[in-house]
Amino acid sequence: MMEKPDPVLLEIMRNRWRGMAEEICAVMVRTSYSPNIKTRFDCSAAIALPDGQILAQAEIGTPLHLGIMPAVIRSVLRRFPIDAMQPGDAVVTNLPYPEGPGHLPDVSLVSPVFYEGQPVALAATTSHHVDVGGYSPGSMPFDVTEIYQEGLQIPPVRLIRAGEIQEELIELIEQNARTRIELRGDLMAQIAASRTAETRVVEMFDAADTKQVLDYMGHILDHAERCMRSGIESLPDGEYTFEDYLDDDGSNDEPIRIAVRVTISGSEFTADFSDSGDQVSGPMNCRISACRACTYYVVKAVVDPDLPTCAGAYRPLTVIAREGSVLNAHFPSAIGNANILTDQRVVDVLLGALLKAVPERVCAACSGEMNLINVGGIDPEGKYFNYVETYAGGQGAHHDLDGSDGIHTHLTNTRNTPVEVIEKTYPLHVTAYGLIPNSEGPGRMRGGCGVVRELVCLADRTAVTIGADRRRFLPWGVKTDHHARGQHCYLIRSDGTRELLPTKFFTYLKKGDRLRIETPGGGGWDDPALRDRDQVRYDVAEGLISRSRAREIYKDK
């Protein structure tokens, strides 16, 4: 039986472990090669107890890693129980089945930390690598039906054995990636991060009483659990349901149903997604670990954005998804684009359900997708290039707050690639980057506007993948039937012909072809006729809402 924790030491220890996770993440970001991690921060780092419970996690660019990291560590421990590991080992994996990272590009590294011969902690990092092979550059193709087509699958294997880097293994992985320098560089960054973790954990134990440090690792989890329970208790008990749809899976026109039943009972929170549609043939299937990540994100955002991120906080949460459904698909279903599309819809339905419980804490639908674009090929100098970015959209309005225009929402928060960097680095010419007038979801509080980006290809045979959604099922408003404008993507040939492309596709472009991508806006709140007249006129003066739209929808005379 552990003693009751000292509230001061608890706070100091908590800060130290959190600082350590942040430092590990910072090391990884700074040593990484690819802009994906450097500027988009699509990575995270965690320290866990030897049994796999996460003690502290740092995430900068996306909350998706929150639920995924525990799954990664569990899958590693299943293959290499902690007693079978030795100092200096590090296990790599990217395999989402039976559980693990959300998709193949999320290569993860887990290593044990020993103190005086005993395993005392695990260090784990996940980072979204530029490419791990498969059908198309960036390893997130459409037109695929199996994970085999999506890229190299790495089950948990030891990348480092007792301090010895398995060079041949790296060569095998490298050989499968289109951007091998970046792959090796980013992998080395993860290794540097795990070495930092080892040093810091050992320093921590050196400086204090071993038993005390171990006891407080447990106390930190209990503390987070208390915080989370007290937050959930502030939500009214009840059952809340909501459903929404993804347009399609990229292979046919069938909408994909995403539904949730949230049950709040005292300090327990259950999200049951079993009523969602069956798994699909396109790469839009999801793993349950991703549903957990979405649930953790929503509860944290609604309950208290400052809640600690560790295993203790997740104890009161239960996430259920029917096996064989789109949110808990069987091997070897293709899953590559769930992270950018399906997961955002999972968040939408969770927020939609909570709207019925705590409307003042929730916002209308945001753009609801990430509009991933991946452009790759050979530049005029004969070098392989790959440009990847997720585009911002409109944010949903709150009952007392307009949504932001052109911003990353929910599961993504990565910086854009500057126009000047795109043009300097890739054979691409950018002709427009800005807000789309009249794309907002109208309301007393309006949603945010979507974004347009126009790219002209300067090289022949440029491979383009776009992963987007929200063209048929538009971002919804609250207390209003108006929706925000949906996603559009046009291909404009050099002869001026213009073609509307599907939301999800993979194709080759010719030199001179122009791609115009328009992202969805965010939903509004309440009747637009009730909107403050000065605000309506300001938006008109700003050119974000047209005069006629103000007249027709906002009823401004």
């Binding site: 001061v8 090391v27 800005g434």
Partner: protein, 678 residues
């Protein structure tokens, strides 16, 4: 008698510091700041200081001013009506920023609104390519139409920010020229002049900040200069910049974006100067005030520069000293979270209502209340301008809000507050050192600000820092720093090229050009003072990386092989690995030019009058135990004095805590040198 004066405008007080050329005397004067018209306090403070020292305006050789006018105009969004002219297709860059929200989990968090509204952001047909080639010439007819609209909108300033102007500024120059010609009363600034670096949002944003603030700064400095001249000032007036150097007031307005972090820069400069006199070039400065903790790291005599500086959500790419700020200070509030941990900050009681012990209606327990309860602060503290501190109110706040709910004694809860806030500050120090591959053990800590010396010894202990050096006037360190600064300019030139393709001679020509241009410009504004320092740095990365490492050029002409070697070494040190097999890429070059405008003299301390006598003793709690502790007056502690803790040293603007068994000695400059705790 000739002397130099530093005047620093702070939130509460405007500090005036006078130093004679011999440097033996440092006299300090404080007046209340006048928020609406900060120049009133500056003038009043100066007159007061002259009266007190029985001096004349003619005695002043040099006046250096640290001002927050630009900062406040930005923070309060009280700048000019500004417009933007930008490349067609890109007027929303200022709005979208980098497309991120400030807080990952907070659905209500919002980006800062752009300083220039969309209706005043004009798009112009023109285009420079990524290599500086002109793809589309400036549409002059359209430009004239835009200028007509600018006139009609009656704007006070225009920011000209076009794509790829860091490669080729021709279009920005052309546009600016025509706008100036037709609108001679309007302030015009260009992005390539203010920040010639790749990355449109940061460059455009920097330009918009300058346009927004410049007219305000011009009015302020104009008014100040006029009054000072009327009063009889003949000496030059300089203004502190964010890079730790100064510029003449006459040019400060034009580049006001460089003065946004002028205040804290003074403290860092003072820290560097103090360290120099101690033959230690590795310094951590820790400025602890009422609401914030500002930490900066000076490694090998160089203060780092911030990479992605942001003020209140607006990006600023001007050379500014790298300062890490967290919400931790005397006013930080202790509270219990839902999980029963004792937490401190970031909420602060500020100056009003202030800590519970101020008796101004605050009932939240703060760090100041905790220090008072522990006996580290005196109840008749001179800190808050002779205010009597109410220890009962402090005890009550801690008892009711923390001790009772947690089941702790009041003293334990008070100690808890201090330990937690210290841990938060230690985390900030570690971020700037350990995270960057620096060992805090190689550094000396310089704590200042009202509360710095209260916490200094513990911070050093927790971070593994050996020595702590408490400046002679901790509360006015920023003002003192004004008297230690030089004319300084940092220029960054974007130059992206593979290292193997670089020609050292070509590089030398390029650097020399930037340098001589900068030197001659600085010399014209400072009556031909001497070049005191020239530094060159290359920012290099592995090809494919997007993060660069600064590599100083130590030899005269750049030795590329040496530079490559230094890069791999730095990379190894900072990040734990290097890849000598990989090609290197130059990203940009930094040139630093410094011209002496004043001698760097640290004021001498008072000579000792033998063994100091305590002015009192009181019970102070250390490690949970009360210790009978002698209290000294700082003015009694002269050069050579030695004190062994426990001891408290009080002075008008600060209190220094010396822990039991800790040794303290006063150096030749009147600074207290604390050894590591044993």
């Amino acid at each position: 008698m000739a002397f130099r004066i530093g005047i620093d405008t702070g939130g509460t007080f405007t500090d005036v510091v006078i130093q004679t050329d011999e440097g033996n005397e440092l006299s300090i004067h404080k007046v209340h700041s006048t928020r609406e018209e900060p120049d009133r306090a500056v003038i009043e403070g100066l007159r007061l200081a002259l009266r007190h020292t029985e001096s004349e305006y003619d005695d002043i050789e040099l006046l250096v001013h640290g001002t927050t006018v630009a900062t406040n105009a930005l923070l309060q969004r009280r700048g000019s009506k500004a417009a933007l002219i930008t490349t067609v297709g890109f007027r929303d860059i200022l709005h979208i920023q980098r497309q991120c929200r400030p807080r990952l989990y907070d659905l209500r968090s919002r980006r800062a609104e752009p300083l220039i509204p969309r209706q005043l952001r004009f798009e112009l047909n023109e285009r420079i390519g990524p290599d500086g080639d002109i793809q589309t010439p400036v549409d002059i007819v359209q430009l004239h139409t835009i200028i007509d609209q600018l006139r009609e909108a009656n704007v006070g300033a225009v920011a000209v920010a076009l794509l790829h102007s860091y490669e080729n500024p021709a279009h920005e120059i052309k546009v600016a020229r025509l706008v100036r010609e037709r609108l001679p009363d309007v302030t015009v600034c260009t992005s390539h002049e203010l920040s010639p670096q790749i990355g449109e949002y940061e460059r455009f944003s920097t330009c918009s900040v300058n346009a927004f603030v410049q007219p305000v700064m011009e009015r302020y400095l104009g008014r100040l200069d006029t009054t000072l001249r009327q009063d009889g000032l003949r000496a030059p007036l300089f203004v502190m910049k964010s890079n730790g150097g100064v510029i003449p007031a006459s040019t400060a307005a034009r580049e006001c974006v460089q003065t946004i972090l002028s205040g804290p820069a003074g403290g860092i400069v003072a820290g560097m100067a103090i360290a120099q006199h101690h033959n230690n070039s590795n310094v951590i400065t820790a400025d602890i005030g009422g609401t914030s903790f500002d930490v900066a790291v000076i490694a090998n005599g160089n203060a780092g520069f911030a990479r992605d500086a942001e003020i209140d959500g607006i990006a600023l790419k001007a050379p500014m000293l790298d300062l890490h700020t967290i919400g931790a200070g005397g006013g930080s509030i202790g509270w219990i979270d839902a999980g029963n941990a004792l937490r401190v900050g970031p909420r602060s009681a500020g100056a009003l209502p202030g800590p519970a012990c101020y008796g101004k209606g605050g009932d939240d327990p703060t760090v100041t209340d905790a220090n008072l309860v522990l006996g580290r602060l005196a109840t008749d503290s001179r800190l808050a301008g002779g205010m009597q501190l109410d220890i009962d109110a402090a005890r009550r706040a801690i008892q009711e809000k923390l001790a009772q709910p947690l089941g702790l004694a009041v003293e334990s809860a008070a100690e808890g507050i201090v330990r937690v806030v210290n841990a938060n500050m230690v985390a900030a120090i570690r971020k700037l050192t350990v995270e960057r591959g620096l060992d805090p053990g190689d550094f000396v800590l310089i704590p200042f600000g009202g509360a710095g010396p209260l916490h200094g010894a513990e911070l050093a202990q927790e971070c593994g820092i050996g020595q702590t050096l408490v400046p002679s006037a901790p509360g006015v360190t920023s003002a003192v720093g004004l008297l230690m600064s030089n004319l300084r300019e940092d220029r960054v030139v974007t130059h992206i090229e593979l290292l193997e393709n670089l020609d050292a001679n070509h590089l030398e020509t390029l650097l020399a050009e930037v340098e001589s241009e900068t030197v001659s410009r600085l010399q014209t504004v400072s009556d031909g003072t001497n070049l005191s320092c020239r530094k060159r740095t290359m920012a290099i990365r592995y090809l494919g990386q997007s993060h660069d490492v600064p590599v100083p050029i130590t030899s005269g002409t750049p030795d590329l092989r040496q530079i490559a070697e230094d890069f791999h070494q730095s990379h190894e040190r900072m990040y734990g690995f290097s890849r000598p097999d990989q090609p290197l890429e130059l990203v940009s070059m930094w040139v630093t030019i410094e011209l002496d405008i004043q001698p760097l003299v640290l004021p001498r301390g008072r000579t000792s009058t033998g063994h100091p006598e305590p002015i009192a003793t009181r019970s102070v709690i250390f490690h949970g135990e009360p210790h009978t502790t002698p209290i000294y007056d700082r003015t009694d502690i002269g050069i050579g004095c030695q004190v062994v803790g426990p001891a408290i040293i009080e002075q008008t603007d600060s209190t220094t805590v010396i822990w039991p068994g800790q040794r303290a000695a006063v150096d030749d400059y009147g600074q207290i040198l604390l050894d590591a705790m044993t």
